[in-house]
Amino acid sequence: MNEHAPDNETNTVIAEPPLVHFEKVTKCYGPLTVLDQLDLAVAAHEKVAIIGPSGSGKTTVLRMLMTLETIDSGLISIDGEPLTHMPQGDKLVRANAAHLKRMRGHIGMVFQHFNLFPHMTALKNCMEAPQTVLGMSKGEAHARASDLLAQVGLADKLDHYPSQLSGGQQQRVAIARALAMRPKVMLFDEVTSALDPELCGEVLAVIRSLGQEHQLTMLMVTHQMGFAREFADRVCFFHAGRIEEQGPARALFENPQNERTQQFLRAVMDAV
């Protein structure tokens, strides 16, 4: 595709079938190709950071996994089962609403702008889906929600509305809300971008502790290079809808092979 193809093919060797698998996935908006024949395999419990310049397709990867976007071609699978398609006879057809709903149960997402329900307290935000989607009783949902809110350090804010919480606290509620559905895969879409710098730390600390406590597979679009380097098992550098370079975090940050990766990292470091 270009002369800067990665020369260290550090794509992790995965013994088991990948939990998340993109195969030749393409997404276009009109004449603009946002993802171009993307191949990406993420193993169970792996933590992958996605970095790259604006418009490189990072967020689109997460949005497609969350079924917020359709794909134009290719196939996405979760745990060996197609996400965007479903089997019909001996061929795959576009997934219907029921299939998408079932598959979505494996995935949780935390958004850049939190997207909490403003008319519900922190507790109710975390109880809504377990009650209405999983059919949990009020007592069970309450127990699960308050336990998760305690885990993210908000045990004393259960009855607060989002407008009564700081940005960092709101984002932690959003993390607890997504975890309440017990997903296998958690998607974090620039979760600290809308926060003041002094509030980023508390959110990243929560993600860090979740990574240790829960056996979650995580995909994280981030501009926090320090966090990506310390937290992720693998970092993927996106450019123009493709993975230009990927590899273990330390290797990619300390010794990037691709010229675009080098330029990007230089620009980001200069900006800090």
Binding site: M66, R104, G105, M109, F111, N115, H119, E128, A129, T132
Partner: protein, 224 residues
Amino acid sequence: MSKVWDWGYAWEAFPLLAEASIITVKATLMGFVVALTVGLLFAIGRMAGPMWLRWTVGGVVEFIRSTPLLIQIFFLYYVMPEFGLTMSAMVTGVIALGLHYGAYCSEVYRAGLANVPKGQWEASIALNLSTWSTFKNVILPQAIPPVVPALGNYLVALFKETPLLSVIAVLELMQTAKILGSETFRYVEPITLVGAFFLVFSLVSAALIRRLERHLNASPGRRI
């Protein structure tokens, strides 16, 4: 020459008009319930329905808004029986008022729904909420409070249109006043009392709506 205002006659007419005012209030409240329901269905159909439904509802709403309420009342009362649908004057009046103001309310709801950030829909999808749960528990509680004042204005407007029901002989305030006038050839007192009644009801409604609005705005769950 008889005096312009006769207090004795006014007191005589008052109980009859007070009785008729119950019909007016009934027609208003029932018509408004129909308008709120139909308006919400129109708005959701237009926003979230399949394309054929969006077009159909859009056409119906435009048609209703572009034709006079008086003609709609006549049509429902005098033309629909030709197609086998006969309704009492009161039911016809309530349906006509409800449909007419439902078309206007649907635009208000639409503005409220469009004002809910896209992220709320996306969070609902990410949490796997059904379309019904999303509307009922997430979108409508955010979309409706901001449009309560606009909906309240339509309640007052609908109330002020109820005299139109006199054309199909619903015994509401105006019709009663006309009957009183035709019997005694004194119109000043009954018509003035009808005007006073409408004024009082409109002012009370507006005050209640303002109070409701203040209450909704005071909630900490209201998006700022």
